[in-house]
């Protein structure tokens, strides 16, 4: 990371400290010294020289983690860089992100992985870990040097943006990941069912005369992979689940004892395919927005624990690219800056989960997914890294993409009013982001 741990000690005072890993949920102060959490207890003393951050009325949580972002570096620097993406991350309360390997070149070699690590070390405001490619060039033809990539620090393996389509390749990749207990993350999309497709297959798509992307294109891949997983063992994760059917497949696999998981993105929890009306490219994503029943199934999946991970799939593109016609425009939207408020709207406000559970879904659960819990990431414990997010759950704010910290402005939530926001983000004991005029504090 860009900053060295400072000499400045911090006391985060009077907040509701929620650490799902330890089960802590109490009003307490957090003392931070030399970049580490020194103590968590009510009534801690701020000795002279300790900077006090008032957190009354706020939640004090482990730093939020997003295990699925696109930082575009190397090769896509006009859309985002590791540095600018990290600014978007801390603005949204995230202290750790995992970037996907669909860069140019792909993160399919130790050399490119080390380049990403180096850029993260020298330019990022938050922790950046990389998910490395499963196959060379993400082409699905030749297996990537997974052993070396994992040893060099890759926290997961995925060809995200593309599916690992070939069953034999899938078997090899899963078996290799299993040897390291490294998670494999599948971008589930059967290619033959999505040729030329740009949105969910259904009435809206038919009326707009676009080519439809059916749910079964996702479900078929997941169903097959689960069969393979049952033989290889290991940990299998479905990225950006879009279909209610996929939720059910994961639910059944978990009930059978398979180590299968899935993630939900803010847009799939809140928007349906009618958002594509008028050929609005801000609603063009891969996988596509589905229908109300899928939104419901996804939310239920989160509520009952089937979906244990929340991930933005932060996918920056230039506005020029997004202003192309619907079929030519690229897939994806940015999410880091507004994800927390969107999750609260989709999950907490309807009463499906409470704030502590939301915090778990954004901290210890993704940390376990990518094996960072062992380094004390995703938890708040004395002696551990002082990555904290201070959340004002009552902070009401309006999404203004023009004020986003990253480069991406491609976001369908422009103008939405959200309740709940990260008002201070602390990485390694250093406050790297603060909302200037938080409401409801003090």
């Amino acid at each position: 990371m860009e900053h060295a741990p400072t000499e400045q000690d911090l006391l985060v005072r009077g907040g509701r400290v929620i650490d799902p890993d330890s089960g802590r949920d109490e009003l307490a102060d957090v003392l931070i010294r030399d970049g580490l959490v020194e103590a968590i207890a009510p009534g801690l003393d701020g000795s002279p020289g300790v900077e006090v951050i008032e957190a009354e009325g706020c939640l004090v949580t482990p730093g939020l983690i997003d295990p699925h972002v696109h930082l575009r570096e190397p090769g896509g620097e006009s859309k985002e860089t590791i540095a600018t993406g990290s600014r978007a991350a801390v603005a949204g309360g995230f202290t750790t992100v995992c970037c996907m390997p669909n860069t140019v070149p792909a993160i399919d070699s130790v050399r490119t992985l080390e380049f990403v690590h180096q850029r993260a070390e020298h330019g990022a405001l938050c922790r950046v870990y990389a998910v490395a490619a499963a196959t060379i060039g993400r082409r699905g033809e030749e297996i990537a040097p997974i052993d070396s990539l994992v040893r060099a620090g890759a926290v997961g393996i995925s060809d995200d943006g593309d599916v690992v389509a070939d069953p034999l390749m899938m078997q090899q990749v899963l078996a290799t990941c299993a040897r390291h207990d490294t998670v494999f993350m599948q971008h589930a999309q059967e290619p033959s069912l999505t040729v030329g497709a740009s949105m969910n297959a259904g009435a809206t798509c038919t009326r707009l005369g676009l080519r439809g992307w059916p749910r079964i294109a996702e479900e078929l891949v997941v169903e097959r992979d689960l069969r393979i997983l049952a033989e290889t063992g290991g940990r299998y994760h479905v990225q950006h689940v879009s279909s209610g059917g996929t939720v059910e497949l994961i639910r059944r696999a978990r009930a059978r004892g398979l180590q299968a998981s899935g993630e939900a993105s803010p847009h799939h929890l809140l928007l349906d395919d009618r958002a594509c009306e008028g050929y609005d490219t801000m609603a063009k994503m891969n996988p596509p927005l589905r229908e109300e029943a899928d939104i419901h199934a996804l939310r239920q999946g989160v509520a009952d624990g089937t979906i244990g991970i929340l991930a933005t799939d932060h996918a920056p593109h230039t506005l020029q690219e997004k202003s192309l016609d619907f079929e030519s425009a690229p897939f994806g939207i940015v999410g880091l800056e507004c994800a927390l408020g969107l999750y609260a709207k989709a999950l907490v406000e309807p009463g499906l989960i409470d704030w502590p559970r939301l915090v778990a879904l954004m901290t210890i659960e993704p940390a376990r997914l990518v094996g960072l819990d062992a380094s004390g990431i995703g938890t708040l414990a004395p002696g551990g890294p002082a990555d904290l997010t201070i959340i004002d759950p009552g902070h009401c704010w309006t999404v203004r993409t023009g004020e986003f910290a990253g480069k991406g402005r491609n976001c369908p939530f422009e103008g939405w009013t959200l309740t709940g926001r990260a008002i201070t983000t602390i990485v390694d004991g250093v406050p790297v982001h603060a909302v200037e005029a938080p409401s409801g504090v003090g």
């Binding site: 030329g196 798509c205 707009l208 005369g209 192309l324 016609d325 030519s328 425009a329």
Partner: protein
Amino acid sequence: MPAGVIRDLLDTASAFESGFRGDELSGRLVANLFFENSTRTRCSFEVAASRLGARSINLGASGSSVAKGESELDTALQLDAMGVDAIVVRSSVNGMPARMAERCTAPIVNAGDGRHEHPSQALLDLLTIRSRLGRLDGLRVAIVGDIANSRVARSNIYGLEAMGAHVVLVGPPGMVDESFAGLGPEGRTTVSHDLDSVIPEVDVLMMLRIQRERGAASPIPSDYRVSYGMTRERADALRPDQWLMHPGPVNQGVEIDPEVLRSFPRSLIEAQVSNGVLMRSAILLRAIARS
């Protein structure tokens, strides 16, 4: 497009059956901006403009397939800045005419956009049916063929239903599916994969062109003609109150057998072509008069 507007356009076009004055749009300039090849539709608009006393300029486009969005819009904006009175657009990009309309001062006439809409074709089809059968309300029309790829079908579903007709869509499963059911403004459109069971129920059979050029998404069954073509046997069995249409150009021996095309007595195919000029005249007149 509300039913009232459709009715107005039908009435104006019908009035042209008795001739044009010739100076309805005299001194006006219509730009035909065809980014996708079309002989019939472009000629039809040109003839229409000429009948009304307007002049046309034609811009074809080889256009790069990459970043179509930008260059097509730019071209329209330039024509608009030159002060043309109307821009007739054919584009392979769904929604392109609507995008142009948002940015241009001149009225934009959609002459077909991608797989989305082809309103002037549907309107001339409505005109043709109304002229020959005397009404649209309560009629049953089968649209047969590659519905999924067809902008003609989408516009006809809309227009026919808006005018009170019932639409049945017929085609192989790869070319029409249940997502089309209820698509029209009244939600009455139905889907069938069995042409022979549909034929007895309908007044008009509108055969569509198999759109080989629109690519791989809907493979054409090798026995398409047997199941979905207007073969001589099927044509011979039609009742005297059943009519045949096709937007053209016909793939002979696929959608319609050659001998049916030559000699079927209740074919409206030629009338569709002549009505095209009348309807496009009505469209240009309305677009320019209102701008």
